[in-house]
């Protein structure tokens, strides 16, 4: 696979330089890999920090801004950031009311954020952490590192970000983030593997006429390989996997997410099938977001995330947000 890069080793630094040029409203420390709201620290506001391996753009750096994250810490491609990054970010954005770490549940992320929390606490910053583990494809959690964190991260960052913006204290922001993280569910499907700059060839071999169900966002193969399906069939399989065990009744927020290589034309068409599948199963939809938000480099495919939405969550969802990748309200 050909890539629009200079050398693999410099991909993340190059991207941060390019992001800095496009977003003067962000403060980007390219060498230290910390992306911070230009107006941080925001007085009287709990600060939100997330981060993780690169290759999932716009997650997380594209969600830094008013109403969402105060800082993001990008690691190497598919590699969790190092503790120093989050510790530095915490120092930069803490207004005294503490910071919330939003951590996707991967061994590397968990360990590095845990070490960062210790470092930040040593510096007197109050740190709370919430783990996002929304991927229902990983079922057998006694025998795994637990569910992966994927599309649900966007809901946690947006909703907790809005709560922080409203002035909620750290415990409130944390408990809301945890509530959202616990309620979100995601399921992903790959039509192709992705190619990391370091490896330069697809991370797994997916022949024409087959797809992978239950993939994560790190180019790892999924749980099951199946003959190619139509978008309607993929929507049915995904929605069934998501609804299995989901408490029913209220409306949901829906994220129909592209993995990076699937055109928006196809994503919108897939959304039509997801909406049909939800309607057929009597699940009311309150809000829908369609686009490439939590990606896996150039992988073709999609994921669906459902977030049950009560009145408070809908209010927080609709609250203004102003980041490179998500922007509405005023």
């Amino acid at each position: 696979m050909k890539q629009l890069i200079n050398v693999p080793e410099r991909v993340v630094a190059d991207a941060l330089r390019g992001m800095a040029a496009a977003h003067p409203e962000l403060t980007i420390d390219v060498d230290r890999r910390v992306v911070v709201r230009g107006d941080a620290p925001i007085m009287d506001k709990v600060a939100l920090i997330s981060g993780g391996g690169s290759g999932h753009e716009p997650l997380h750096a594209g969600f830094v801004g008013r109403g969402m994250l105060d800082a993001a810490c990008p690691g190497e491609v598919f590699t969790s950031p190092v503790p120093d990054q989050m510790a530095r970010a915490a120092a930069a954005v803490d207004s005294g009311l503490g910071v919330l770490f939003i951590v996707k549940n991967y061994t590397g992320d968990v360990l590095n954020f845990r070490m960062a929390a210790e470092m930040a606490e040593d510096e007197g910053v109050a740190v709370a952490s919430v783990l996002v583990e929304d991927d229902v494809a990983v079922t057998d959690s006694t025998y795994t590192a637990g569910r992966r964190g994927t599309g649900g991260t966007l809901f946690v960052e947006k909703l907790a970000g809005a709560a922080a913006e409203e002035g909620a204290p750290l415990e409130r922001v944390e408990s809301l983030a945890r509530r959202v993280a616990d309620a979100c569910r995601s399921f992903g499907v790959a039509l192709t593997a992705c190619t990391t700059p370091a490896k330069g060839t697809p991370t797994f071999d997916l022949p024409p006429g087959e797809l992978e169900l239950g993939i994560g966002i790190h180019g790892e193969p999924g749980r099951e390989r199946r003959p190619m399906m139509t978008s309607g069939e993929i929507a049915d399989v995904s929605v069934d996997a998501l609804l299995d065990g989901l408490p029913r009744g209220g409306p949901v927020l829906v994220l129909v997410n592209g993995m990076g290589g699937t055109p928006l034309l196809e994503l919108y068409g897939f959304n039509a099938e997801v909406q049909r599948a939800l309607a057929e199963r009597q699940v009311p939809v309150a809000r829908t977001l369609v686009g490439n938000y939590v990606t896996s480099l150039d992988m073709a495919g999609c994921s669906v995330t459902l977030c049950p939405g009560d009145e408070e969550l809908l209010r927080l969802w609709d609250a203004p947000v102003s980041t490179p990748a998500l922007r509405w309200g005023r």
Partner: protein, 203 residues
Amino acid sequence: MAEPMDATVFWRWIDLTAADVAREAARLTELDSAIGDADHGSNLSRGFAAALDAVRREHPDTPGAVLTLAGQTLVSSVGGASGPLYGTLLRRTGKTLGEAPEVGLGELAAALGAGVEAVARLGGAAAGDKTMLDALLPAVEALPQGPDTAARAAAEGARATVPMRARKGRASYLGERSVGHEDPGAASSALLLAALARAVRDE
């Protein structure tokens, strides 16, 4: 070889490991691409190159100081699962060695045992989970019989991960499909122990 080892041995250990993981980076990444996310080779090359730099820059003059600095540098430069785990391994081993200017094989074995224990605690994994521990645990056990024996034990331990089903780290997401592949972290641990054996032998 029963002779006590000073800082230069450990310095050489870092140096040889850096060279070996750089040389084997593509293989490690290939292993990681089968059951993980295809970054283990670049992670460790980056980390040990940084560790070597740090050691060259700061000239730590005891075995414990070399390993502590190397471990700290891994934590600050690798990321991923392997950064904190390998970083903790070397740091805890170094801390346990204390400030002695020379250490014997028995002391090293005990200290490495403490390091491996810290890795197990941090990652919550046990023998048979298909992780680096499956190479490290037998190596620690064998180390009193000499670094070469330990290196062989690590290599065997790594090979033994092939039929295992992963229960920790990314490979666990694959369930049954993780069977039939060597664990990349176990493979790199075998490299680490082989480098130790050479570092001691070259003395």
